[in-house]
């Protein structure tokens, strides 16, 4: 089912021979970055011989040795805190928080230091750290294994927050995140890890701070990112049957937000909706709706809708299907508009 619809998502992406999973693309991005630059190191929980619980670091410790890829003690604040110290001393650590909710013990190190050190020292101490976080639901994970916490990070000045939705972006955005001199929160959509597609290792898909129109349309703009990009494309397909022409934008970068690309589309369609898994209240969609409305109010024919998770803790595996936004729910939401 996951695989079945991928063509939707990737139709617009550059074609290249090898077809790899999103997890595999991340793996080769890490390998290529490490091969190019000795200062790139990878550490965290189970990223060594096991290759990470999602195998994103598979084979790296064997290839680069366990002084460049290693298992740390089990402590997230410790992982982020020591990564900060390494970055202060010339390294470019790429660290993993095993699951989204398990980044919370590192919250202080991320918000009070990782995000602020550069500003604190007037640019003297840059922290080129990439924090990889598998996030969101859809894989039947037990409690704490399906959180979407992008809103916590995007509200924190000093952090760059990005999330790929397909293998090509996964490869290129991780390469770009690693070469950025700013700390990057790199959110990996768990439910898409196994999605397969061709990846062109020669030409970047887009700059790290750019959103992309992945399907053009005239009636509505759907804004999605990470796991909901597929939902948006599915919705667009269904809508077409009802002669509703939907433009889909894969936001890719959550902070900064690409006002230009999104604004242009919304001014064209005059209607927009944003889709995410996180709880709606205070979710990332609130910022999207607020700023796009601020900047394009008199172009809007209707309020910007938010199709998001309910304002409850993420459900148990058997109930997540009722929580997660679906293409049907997206279309139902669009029907609430006065046309």
């Amino acid at each position: 089912m996951t695989i079945a619809h991928d063509t939707n998502v990737t139709a617009v992406l550059a074609q290249a021979p090898a077809s790899v999973t999103l997890a595999g693309a991340l793996n080769s991005a890490l390998a290529d970055a490490m091969a190019e630059d000795d200062s790139v190191v990878v550490f965290g929980e189970d990223v060594g011989p096991l290759g990470g619980v999602f195998r994103v670091t598979d084979g790296l410790s064997a290839r680069f040795g366990d002084d460049r890829v290693w298992d740390s003690p089990l402590a997230e604040a410790g992982i982020v805190g020591t990564a900060i110290g390494m970055a202060m001393n010339g390294m470019r650590p790429v660290i993993e928080m095993q699951f989204d909710a398990f980044s919370y013990p590192a919250f202080q190190q991320i918000t009070s230091h990782l995000a602020k050190m550069r500003n604190r020292t007037k640019g003297t101490l840059e922290l080129p750290v990439v924090v990889r976080i598998p996030y969101a639901g859809g894989i039947g994970g037990v409690e704490h294994h399906s959180d979407s916490s992008e809103a916590y990070w995007t509200h924190t000045p000093g952090l760059t927050v990005v999330t790929p939705s397909n293998p090509s972006d996964a490869y290129w955005m991780l390469r770009q995140a690693i070469s950025s001199n700013d700390p990057v929160i790199f959110l990996e959509p768990k439910s898409r890890y196994w999605m397969k597609d061709a990846v062109d290792h020669a030409t970047p898909t887009a700059p790290l701070d750019a959103a992309r129109v992945i399907r053009t349309g005239t009636d509505v703009t759907l804004l999605a990112y990470g796991p909901t990009v597929k939902t948006a494309m599915d919705a667009a397909e269904l809508a077409e049957l009802e002669d509703l022409s939907i433009e889909v934008i894969d936001l890719r970068t959550l902070s900064p937000f690409d006002d230009e690309t999104v604004g242009a589309s919304v001014r064209k369609t005059s209607r927009a909706a944003v889709i995410h898994e996180a709880a709606q209240f205070g979710g990332y969609g609130a910022e999207v709706a607020a700023r796009v409305t601020e900047r394009n109010f008199f172009h809007l024919a209707a309020p910007i809708l938010r199709i998001a998770g309910f304002d409850v803790p993420f459900p148990s595996p058997k109930l997540e299907e009722y929580f997660l936004p679906t293409a049907e729910r997206v279309l139902a939401a669009l029907d609430t508009w006065q046309w």
């Binding site: 929980e45 189970d46 060594g48 011989p49 096991l50 290759g51 619980v53 290693w70 298992d71 740390s72 003690p73 089990l74 402590a75 604040a77 410790g78 909710a101 398990f102 919370y104 013990p105 039947g140 994970g141 037990v142 409690e143 704490h144 294994h145 209240f281 309910f310 304002d311 409850v312 803790p313 459900p315 148990s316 595996p317 058997k318 109930l319 009722y322 929580f323 049907e328 729910r329 139902a332």
Partner: protein, 335 residues
């Protein structure tokens, strides 16, 4: 050395626990459960703790400790409902005097300390027991729990099951200390390093620590050295980080085989008794399989019903939204 009757009871519970564990692992392999972290090989620690706890004491377990819950009276269905994904916790903590199985590592240790603090304030003779893994001791919150317990002298016993691994990470990458029990010194509390596959020893040490705690003696840190015989969970691949020899070495130290041969030698465990216990185990296994067959009725609208004690209009709106969606989709399916 606990008396024979107690040892026999511990043996009995360990046999049942293992049969349950093996059955659930099998069901998980069949894809019937979302996940199941097996306790196979750790029965001595798990059962000793469950047996040592007094009725009014509270247990603060992790995802790993299902068989301790079983030994403390939680039903098979109540245990499985979490792992098969019905809800985040399947039993009534107040009825069982067990906190929900904690996934965020080491966090439950602080709850155990706080709970014990309240008991102490009210001068109730209630102790709490928190399970932790070797990996979890690296978390800052484990340290905070040990320290709060020691400073406040709460009736809390920390049982660290050092099963050699945190998923794939061996103990050598987790700590440079001789033992985890050594950490107790840094908090000014007693620490005990115990053979975690010797149920008699574990039971004796935990019982003493709990008695001491209930009598105002303060907390204790107990490390049981044991081994995780199964994979971390069904989605794990141990071949990537440990070899069979190591597993076989530990198999020869099997906690059940050890107490069994002792009880037989002592003439406490007769062939008849042993067969009887084996039958009970098979019955439990059957009960477990049956439990999986009757799948419970789940109400999606319950997602909204337990988040707050105080009703919220906006949440009621979302509940109504889902209710309408469910009705219309039902309608669609009918038509």
């Amino acid at each position: 050395m606990p008396e024979a009757g107690i040892l026999l009871d511990l043996y009995r519970r360990m046999v049942l626990a293992r049969r349950f564990d093996v059955q659930v692992t099998a069901l998980t392999r069949q894809g019937r459960l979302a996940t199941y972290p097996s306790g196979l090989g750790q029965e001595a620690c798990e059962i000793a703790a469950a047996a040592a706890l007094a009725d009014d004491d509270w247990l603060f377990p992790t995802y790993r400790d299902s068989i301790a819950l079983l030994a403390r009276g939680v039903t098979v269905v109540e245990i499985l409902s979490f792992f098969r994904g019905d809800w985040h916790s399947g039993f009534n903590p107040k009825q069982r005097r067990i906190a929900p199985q904690s996934t965020p590592l080491a966090t439950q240790a602080l709850h155990a300390v706080g709970f014990a603090t309240a008991s102490k304030m009210r001068h109730e003779p209630v102790a709490t027991l928190a399970f932790l893994g070797d990996g979890a001791t690296s978390e800052g919150e484990a340290h905070e729990a040990f320290n709060f317990a020691a400073v406040w002298q709460t009736p809390t016993v920390f049982v660290v099951q050092n099963n050699g691994y945190a998923i794939s990470v061996p103990f050598s990458k987790q700590s440079h200390a001789r033992t985890l029990a050594d950490k107790a010194i840094g908090y000014g509390m007693p620490g005990h390093f115990v053979d975690g596959n010797d149920v008699a020893a574990m039971y004796a040490v935990i019982t003493d620590a709990l008695d001491r705690a209930r009598n105002g003696g303060g907390p204790a840190l107990i490390e049981g050295l044991t081994y995780r015989m199964e994979a971390h969970t069904n989605s794990d691949d141990p071949s990537r980080y440990r070899d069979d020899d190591e597993v076989e070495r530990w198999r020869s130290l099997d906690p059940i085989a050890r107490i069994e041969s002792y009880l037989i030698r002592e003439g406490v465990l007769t062939e008849g008794l042993r067969a009887e216990i084996a039958d009970a185990a098979e019955q439990l296994a059957a009960e477990t399989r049956d439990a999986m067959n009757e799948s419970p009725h789940l109400n999606p609208l319950e997602l909204f019903d337990h988040v707050y004690a105080t009703p919220r209009t906006a949440l009621a709106e979302q509940r109504d939204y889902l209710a309408t969606e469910l009705e219309s989709s039902e309608a669609r399916h009918l038509s």
